[in-house]
């Protein structure tokens, strides 16, 4: 059995009917610089066809294009960010407000960081951490999108307690093994060992996040992985470790509930409050989102 069959069999074992999916490119309108209508009119004059995604605040699908959506004058002016539809959801669930103090734990290249700035109207503070060379992309995107309320540190987020700060809201969009949508070679590149390595790192990251979350604060944990080991298992781990934490219901018009059990392992009874986007159902990338609150 090839790698693709193995992964598809896993999803079938979780009760799904997996199949290949092709998704439209999507953008997020940067309302710090323009409006939905102005951008739509401008791009449609240049032969793009845009369609509003009803379950996103600022998301549009690119239905037709004669040039790359990533190299237009409007893109370079920062009027939009090319950001996959499902990837726009974690920030909506976090619901950043002007004045919040937010930690973005693995921020580069900055799609979600600049989305938070937008919703905060550049008021309040985002502390953005990353270790990778993609920090330069984060800096470029901050400049391009005009996200002025971000402070970026080259720092391993597992050691964020060094900063001796507490945060109202935390986004942990964790490094993960990804999913097959949009990457034809994904099945060839991925092994089950990758997942185990990622899951170890994810648990260390969420442990650090829990320590610096203020009482009453919100922590969003998300990945674009479909694998329960990187999702429900990580949430189950932190809920068992820290009894001041609990899951809050994610109310979205798209996606399925989190899994109550997987491959013989039962998870925390509240796991259904999480959200899972299976690509063959949502016509998006795969995604998992959990909303954790602290007493």
């Amino acid at each position: 059995m090839g790698s693709k069959e193995l992964f598809f069999q896993r999803y079938a074992d979780l009760g799904e009917s997996p199949r290949d999916v092709r998704v439209h490119q999507t953008i997020r309108v940067n309302t710090l610089k323009t409006t939905h209508q102005l951008l739509k009119d401008r791009l449609e004059r240049n032969n793009f066809k845009l369609e509003r995604i009803p379950w996103l605040q600022d998301g549009f699908a690119v239905k037709k294009s004669k040039q790359s959506i990533g190299s237009t004058t409007e893109y370079l002016l920062g009027h939009y960010y090319t950001q996959e539809a499902a990837a726009q959801l974690p920030v909506h669930v976090l619901d950043p407000k002007p004045g919040d103090m937010i930690l973005d734990m693995t921020a580069a290249p900055g799609g979600k960081t600049t989305q938070m700035s937008q919703l905060m109207q550049n008021k309040g503070t985002i502390i953005a951490l990353d270790l990778s060379n993609r920090l330069y992309s984060l800096k470029n995107n901050i400049e391009r999108m005009g996200a002025s309320n971000v402070m970026v540190y080259k720092k391993d987020a597992r050691f964020v307690t060094d900063f001796k700060l507490q945060f109202d809201k935390i986004l942990l969009d964790a490094p993960c093994s990804g999913n097959f949508v949009g990457d034809r070679e994904w099945f060839e590149k991925r092994t089950f060992d990758d997942m185990k390595v990622r899951a170890r790192l994810q648990k260390e990251l969420i442990k650090a996040a829990a320590k610096v979350l203020k009482p009453g604060g919100i922590l969003i944990y998300s990945t674009c992985s479909l694998e329960p080991e990187e999702n429900e298992e990580v949430i189950d781990f932190i809920l068992k470790k820290d009894n001041s934490l609990s899951l809050a219901l994610i109310d979205l018009p798209i996606g399925d509930h989190g899994l109550p059990k997987a491959f013989g392992q039962s998870f925390h009874p509240d796991m259904a409050k999480c959200r899972r986007l299976w690509p063959w159902k949502s016509q998006t990338q795969g995604f998992f989102i959990a909303k954790v609150t602290k007493q």
């Binding site: 004058t73 993609r134 920090l135 800096k139 470029n140 400049e143 005009g146 309320n149 402070m151 900063f163």
Partner: protein, 155 residues
């Protein structure tokens, strides 16, 4: 900081920022809010980026950010407005030919802000008025894509 000040001085305008608003880090200058500056003192670590970048040293030269160019473009400075076709060629890194210029209030040797017909700043150049090249491209917004490509090669 000196290079930032002398870059702004080239445009014949007053320096638009107060000294205390500016943070220097790794040969870059940033415009930071009061809240960010206060926060900075609480975190004992070198910052990579804070607020909005105003420019930095690249290959020994000061390169302005587009935040700074937008600020300069909002003032009464020399400007050239390009046609739609010339706009895209400029963004692709090309110099500007006379036929691509819709209007220009600069003289030979002047630095000029380059704008499209919507008055959006696309970059800056120097008016040459040569046989073919009218404005030498010194920086355009296509730089964002070139930086990304360079960062991708380094990964």
């Amino acid at each position: 900081m000196k290079q930032l000040q002398s870059f702004v001085a080239k445009w014949g305008i007053e320096f638009p920022y107060a000294r205390e608003e500016l943070i220097e880090s790794s040969q870059n200058v940033f415009l930071a809010s009061k809240e960010q500056r206060e926060r900075l003192t609480q975190i004992p670590r070198d910052i990579f980026s804070i607020g909005l970048p105003l420019g930095g040293i690249r290959r020994g030269q000061f390169v302005p950010s587009f935040v700074l160019l937008d600020e300069i473009a909002a003032r009464d400075v020399k400007k050239a407005i390009l046609s739609e076709k010339a706009e895209w060629l400029f963004i692709c890194g090309r110099d500007v030919f006379k036929e691509g210029v819709v209007s220009c209030n600069a003289f030979q040797g002047d630095f000029v802000i380059i704008q499209n017909t919507r008055n959006e700043c696309l970059g800056y150049g120097r008016l040459e008025n040569g046989a073919r090249v009218f404005i030498k491209n010194l920086l355009d917004r296509g730089d964002f894509l070139r930086r990304e490509r360079q960062a991708g090669r380094q990964r």
